[in-house]
């Protein structure tokens, strides 16, 4: 392979973030005791800087550099900006959560920054090698974040499950990658795709590799039947970490799916569409039906995540550019909604009290009408009720599925979504029509209140005017 001196400019956001994360680590080491807020402020500043850089460097043309290991295109840029945005919110809620519980640690923010770096590397990977390394970087940070509260045995157990199953998924993914490499003789996704278009007859080993890759990605996404870890991890992890695990990495996983299946394995599209259809239907069924039986809000939201992943896959199953754009829209919207929902648990909690049982939401309207209204917005949006953006997300993927002549799939999805409506509405009922044990008005800081209001109102605004974001997704995918 001839060596070309790489262009560093497209990778500047990643380089900046890596440097800043190391800087945050050093600041924490030397000033962390006396000025803990410096770490937080610096971390947030680096995220903002990185997002601005991503926007400034928005690539007109897809560019590949570092000898075919790094790609910057519209999709990667848009996904990166949203991942950073989501993480910005996450860190804000996290600071509140950690401060209240005396868990504040500089490493929390360092690891979060490195996780974002991993996600960015993941979505702009152009070779199996960088893709895998990005994935591992992200996953390693998340395992550590889940386990960070050593006092809690729940968290340790969740981290253990997450780690073991995550390692299993990585192994599966790697095995699939090794088969792909064995057949095509290259790690670059472009070369792998070329092999399929030139080769004529598709090698059966390629399909075998595809099976392993789809299984690995399904594990990471939390799609049924590879979803076992999701509820336990969501429930066991500190809520601020659940918030993180449930949002930004989903966007990254979508990017990974696009890179692997659409960029790398377009030649066997028929095969992966079949596999994803099974995953999608199972996820929607498992997620929406089991969620009804949950009494813990974090667990319920975990199952809701599984259901949403099923929906997210629908757009990719459509197998068209418009379908991918719809999926991208869905995942971004989902991340914003998840941010609000888990953020609400954090806002309502206090020292020694997690507020993650459904009963804790009883009679919220009497204690704080404004927060109750925000819960209403979030839940209805998640359920996919019309004026909110969740509806548009569901609508756009369903439209693409129908356009791809898979009406039965769309019907199944709609039926399952209606079943899902039940448990979202139950939360709303608890908030508005039930008496709570506690009657004292709720007090929480203005800053988090502003944050959660912005978050929920953004969902409302996007619901009224969804076309801008949808158009962005369509142009990003070219």
């Amino acid at each position: 392979m001839p060596f070309v001196t790489p262009e560093f400019l497209p990778a500047l956001p990643e380089i900046l973030l890596a440097v800043m994360a190391c800087l945050v680590l050093l600041v924490d080491l030397y000033f962390g005791r006396r000025h803990p807020s410096w770490v937080f402020l610096l971390a947030q500043a680096s995220l903002v800087l990185c997002a601005l850089l991503c926007i400034a460097l928005y690539p007109e043309e897809p560019t590949t550099t570092f000898n075919g290991t790094f790609r910057s295109d519209g999709m990667s840029a848009v996904l990166k900006v949203f991942m950073i945005l989501v993480t910005y919110f996450v860190l804000f809620y996290s600071k509140f959560y950690l401060d209240v519980r005396d868990l504040f640690k500089g490493e929390y923010f360092v690891l979060s920054l490195f996780a974002v770096l991993g996600m960015m590397i993941l979505v702009s990977a152009a070779s199996l090698l960088t893709l895998y390394l990005g994935l591992e970087l992200m996953a390693l940070c998340l395992y550590a974040l889940v386990a960070l509260n050593r006092e809690s045995s729940m968290a340790s157990e969740a981290a253990m499950k997450y780690f073991v199953l995550g390692a299993l998924a990585s192994g599966t993914l790697l095995y699939g990658m090794s088969l792909l490499y064995g057949v095509t003789g290259s790690l670059e996704l472009d070369r792998i795709r070329e092999y399929q278009s030139v080769g004529g007859e598709i090698d059966i080993i390629l399909v075998l590799g595809l099976v392993f890759i789809v299984v690995g990605v399904a594990f990471k996404l939390g799609a049924a039947p590879f979803h076992m870890w999701v509820p336990d991890v969501y429930e066991g992890a500190p809520t601020s970490v659940t918030l993180f695990v449930g949002t930004a990495p989903k966007i990254a996983a979508f990017g990974m799916l696009m890179r692997l299946l659409v960029d790398g394995l377009a030649g066997v599209q028929g095969d992966w569409i079949e596999m994803l259809t099974i995953l999608s239907v199972l996820s929607m069924a498992v997620g929406n039906i089991i969620a009804i039986a949950q009494t813990n809000l974090k667990r319920m939201l975990a199952y809701s995540t599984i259901a949403h992943v099923g929906f997210l896959l629908l757009g990719i199953i459509a197998g068209t550019r418009a379908g991918y754009a719809a999926s991208m829209f869905y995942v971004i919207v989902y991340a914003l909604m998840g941010l609000g929902a888990f953020g609400m648990i954090i806002v309502l909690g206090s020292k020694g009290f997690e507020s993650d049982r459904l009963d804790d939401f009883r009679g919220l309207n009497e204690r704080s009408p404004w927060l109750a209204f925000l819960v209403l917005v979030l839940m209805l949006s998640m359920a996919g009720v019309p004026p909110f953006v969740g509806f548009w997300a569901k609508w756009s993927v369903l439209r693409e599925v129908v356009a791809a002549d898979q009406v039965w799939l769309a019907t199944v999805a709609v039926v399952l979504a209606v079943i899902g409506l039940f448990y979202y509405l139950r939360v709303v009922r608890l908030v508005y029509f039930e008496e709570g044990q506690e009657a004292a008005p709720l007090v929480c800081g203005t800053d988090v209140k502003v944050m959660i209001s912005t978050n929920a109102l953004a969902i409302l605004a996007l619901g009224v005017y969804p076309s801008a974001l949808l158009a962005l997704c369509v142009t990003a995918l070219g």
Partner: protein, 200 residues
Amino acid sequence: MAELVVFYCFAAILVFAAFRVITVRNPVHAALFLVLAFFSSACVWILLEAEFLAIVLVLVYVGAVMVLFLFVVMMLDINLAPLREGFTRYLGLGAAVAVLIVAQLLLVLGSDRFGLERVGAPVRRAADYSNTEELGVLLYTVYAYPFEIAAVVLLVAIIAAISLTMRRRPGIKAQNPAEQVAVRRSDRVRLVKMRSESRR
């Protein structure tokens, strides 16, 4: 010819050792068999003229990783009896699934797909060919970006491991060597000048 015999010897040892890793009862023995497996695969790599990778395998995995592994296994007194509960109950199902998977993989991954005619034998190099240098050149040019990411992954591993294990627990009596080294005579000894007492 001689090379073929050597290859099959090492390959047989490798397969045997790998098999024993998962079947042997004693975890320390299992770890030692894993060491043997690493060593034999290093030898197979040397036959492939990948001497750098082979030596690094011994250096890193045998010399460092497995030592720490053994360390942990020897310290923990693992009671295997509860782990083996239900072994016979699931044996039938497990064996059936395993046989099925192996059969399926064999059907797909037969030697006609990964045989020599498809992959080709590696090219023999001259004695002064240094694959250490080749690897170095490749790693720092073509694969510079993945290399840097791998470095970041290791950094994160260090940060994660330290932040998970280093807790300030109250009531621990630890020595501070820096303080001990920096100690001065005046910190420890006080010379008191006094007149000698007169004998009564």
